[in-house]
Amino acid sequence: MRKALTADEAAALVPDGASVMIGGFMGVGSPHRVIAALAARGARGLTVIANDTARPGHGIGVLIDAGCVARCIVSHIGLNPVTQKKMIAGEMEVELVPQGTLAERIRAGGAGLGGVLTPTGLGTVVEDGKQRITVDGRDYLLEKPLRADVALLHCYEADYYANLTYRLTAQNFNPVMAMAAKIVIAEPDEVVPIGVIPPDHVRTPGILVTHLVERPH
């Protein structure tokens, strides 16, 4: 049994300047309440690691609008003109990473691997400054693992141990990020008693989740 935090209490655990992994794909599967609380407390200098920056006023876009983010490591910013504008103006640093490579770098970070070898990005700007490794006659790029100070997750159900389930396309980066950060904060849609989630359905074990946010009122 553990005490659930309010979104504001959760946001207070994210220090200015922290590296923060945030689940979600165009805002689907993002922890919207914690994001709103982070923007409201005026967080500054964050490095955000996520699939995308969603849209202005939505999902991670809220943090971009509020000036909380100094740097982001993402695969796509095409639907957020504010991110593009801040990047071109030099107000925010943006590192673009192929989506599959991003997922694998985070997975490697949480799985104790020294990196992954992928053919993705060979012969493109993604290869710049990276080591090319040949295995059995095929070329790959060495992509290094990613870890973060904090992971902010969204889940469908959490039980009192913070065992988590996800729903449909709201899973995306949440399960890999749960493995790759020192502090793991999960924002559930539902909280259920222990035992309600069958062991086979638990996707992220509660032992990895350091803090659970209360269910929405």
Partner: protein, 216 residues
Amino acid sequence: MDAKEIIARRVAQELRDRTLVNLGIGLPTMVARYVPEGMLVAFQSENGIIGFGARPPEGMEDPNLTDAGGGFISALPGAFAFDSATSFALIRGGHLAMTVLGGLQVDAKGRLANWMVPGKMVAGMGGAMDLVSGAKRVVVAMQHAAKGEAKIVPELTLPPTSARPVSLVVTDLAVIEPTPEGLVLRERAPGVALEEILAATAAPLMFDNDVPEMTL
């Protein structure tokens, strides 16, 4: 039939029964409307689902169920939802028979550029680089030219999506296949003259005396 429908209908002829296919955002999505009768194609959306269907009726949308563009979808019987690492393992691991992607440029070597225009538009590559590296076949579905400017060029002037050549380029004017010898013009769109295609193409094209029309 407008340009987009011509492209989508022709690309749909490349679909094969009981295969996994990924359709990019925008025009490629339209291909799903023209799956040949009786054929079972498993469409993947890289944000984490195989087997998605049309947008649900108004008021029935599920905020946890969208396509890669963020639009609401439904799940068909037999659908499978998964996380991003699994999604790209499917893409990179040789499990994806075909991907259909939009394009800004294709060059004489068959290389695709589709993720940024320096100084103008930086969308980010999203899943495109993984898709071009990993899918067994890569089909580019795009308008032949943009505002009078050729998109099929001798050498990319935009940053490439992959060094790997694509398998086929389908436009509103033509079907073009990149080969080691160069680009081969395979088909003309209905009613489109050879001269019109050559005029709209900046890269050299190889072709037979009699280039057939697409059958749509």
